[in-house]
Amino acid sequence: MAEKIIVALAGNPNVGKTSIFNAITGSKQHVGNWPGVTVEKKMGKRVHSDVEMEVVDLPGTYSLTAYSLDEIVARDFIIEEKPDIVVQVVDGTNLERNLYLTTQLMELGVKLVIALNMSDLVLSKGVHIDEAKMQEYLEVPVVSTIGSTGNGIHGLLDTIIERSSDKRVYGNTFDYEEDIEVRAEELEMILEKDPYFAHYPSRWFSLKLLEGDENILRKARGSESYPKIKNVLDNLDPDSFESRIADQRYGTIQFMLRQVCDINTSHLSGSDMVDRVVTNKYLGIPIFLSLMWAAFEVTFTFATPFMNMIDIFFAWLGEVTVSLISTDWLSSLIGEGIIAGVGSVLIFLPNILLLFFMLSIMEDSGYISRAAFIMDRVMSRIGLHGKSFIPLIMGFGCNVPAIMATRTIEDSRDRLITILVTPFISCGARLPVYVLLAGAFFGRDAGVVIFSLYALGILVALLSAKLMRGTVLRGEDAPFIMELPEYRIPTLRSGIIHMWERGKIYLKKAGGIILLGVVGVWLLASIPVPGSGGQFASGDIYGTTSSLLGAIGMLIEPLVAPLGFDWRIAVALLFGVVAKEIVVGSMGVLYGAGTNEENLAGILAAGAMSPLVGLGLMVFVLLYVPCFACIGVIKRETGSWKWTLFQLFYGTGLAWGLAFLVYQTGSRIGLLS
């Protein structure tokens, strides 16, 4: 192979960068119709015409003045890593705002190619964009693409290669008013003499200094020539410079747009009409709740027949294996351990698939941004803004990407609060616990009980946020700016891909960590307490307090006894820290779901646990320590063990308190016992 080049995909949020990245590299990175889907850089490879390309998908950014963490990732990659080619993906239906970034990329002097994306939508809106003129005007190659179908990707790759072998340097195309130019030149002279700045294009750097960009100023402060720079900057009014520079960029863009395309406005589009209704002051929140309920109904009720099928399969499998294997301990391991444990978890695969299908519809349609917008009023009472609501919704799927999604939140305290309360949102892994327990104890009202648990999770998250905002993490609430992307009809294909990806993760988890967990539980439940003289995996040891597990359970039982939990539940909760599904898996092992006629729900309903304890247990599982993966990501994103531990103790304390309340009041007034 002759050459290797690095190609970065940059652009505003939600313009289709990841779609194009997926089309180029054949990956399946997450795509969604809302700004802020991608929050870290992702790499991929593609060979085209004998050139090896390393393609980098970046988070969206409105300008090269970075405010939030995801924007900083994008900007740093472009500036510090100096990719050979930067492809700016541009949303053709929103040229004016997108070209603002173009001006900055050009000033930066990068080798630019513009992918004029969403060209299908441009066409259907009846707008015509003259690519040739645009190319001529900007002196940058422009290629039309449709990211979601992969149209135009070939042409884009050809252009990238052509551009990368072109040695000319472009940039510096925009002229500003006289006094700005004078200052910029003064600064450029200073910068060029100082090797400290050799890394940065001096024209761009000096304009950024004039705009008063915090990040750039901080960098400049580290240099020896800073006094000279300060001298120039002290003699001007930074605010006026900033707005004048921006105005002139927009002026140039508008001038160009008038020649390049015919824009028709003043038309109430479908999106606008829907938004008038769903963001209505009175109806917005009720509509949001109704849609959540609809998604919820599908996730739980529609899944029932499929769950029953899996249940029947595992019951059959259990019988067959037990009858085939004559070695006692082996048959116990497979029947009572693996099949009962993993089977109890796999039953919930249909729920998981449907849950992620629903979330994908929500993301692809663009409604998720509206949800954030509607909730902004509620959120601002708490002292956060609507943006913090998006991670909370994502959290219904899995808390880990949800915590990552907080990177789009600019204010670091807002972000920290959001990270700390996201684990209270009930994720897909906790759902098996509810379906199991609510199904066993609440029959027809199971749906209402589960919905209430989800609501409780949100309530606890919001109240905790308010509490933190009022005490340890005080701060101002910032104005809320959020782009509302146009609605799109979600495609079945993207829903199924999403569902399939998550389904695979669930299956892998069931075959990996959950299997390991239940085998561990089985093993500990089979080993007799040293000195007791019992036999490994024998009937009078297995799953009793004479087993090692039983001994551990008895040791921690006093901690949870006030909640009505026995040692089995205590052990299940302990192992559930690894992954929440293991709570169900270990209960399957410990309550003998493998040997019994009934499945786990049947055993519990028949009296192995009281409904009141079941309710308390659901509340506890909702709020206590998040899983390992989640703890890991909290640590990484907060960068602090202190806050991670705070989350763990706070959550577990709350879980204990609420479960205590449920059990004690319930048993006092004789409810559900």
């Binding site: 259907s124 009409m273 829907v274 008038r276 109704s290 309920w293 609809a294 029953n308 209402v448």
Partner: protein, 152 residues
Amino acid sequence: MNYSYQKKEALFAALAGVLYVISGTLHIVEGLGADTGFAALLFVQADILGGFCLAVIGMVFLYGLLEMRRGIKAGMSFAYVGILLSIIFMAVYLLIMGGNLLDSFIVPGDYEGWNIMESLRPGIYLGLLSLMAAFSWKGRFSSNGISVREEV
């Protein structure tokens, strides 16, 4: 602009609005334990949250009616979105109905004496009304979603 164009929407919004609010309320009343006597006749089941959703759809229609009566043309948006929502809910109830049917084959023991009509809900047959409206107004739903010709 054509006056009858608006009038049809207003009429539909009034009708659908009232029907949805009533059936939503009946669901809620049943859910609170009262027997309205409509359960057998109109397939209204005890379902507080489902009833809330139907009532919300009804309110969307009625809100649109209110705006249209006040001469705000964009009030039509509410009629269109109401139609959209009621079709979504019809789809949800149909899915559940299909799920029940499938389940009755898988675990027949749990479904003795059950027949499919027990899964019929107002959300389904009222949805038909919206579906009809959507079809007869199809011309106004462009590829960009829903569009209106007049300016606001």
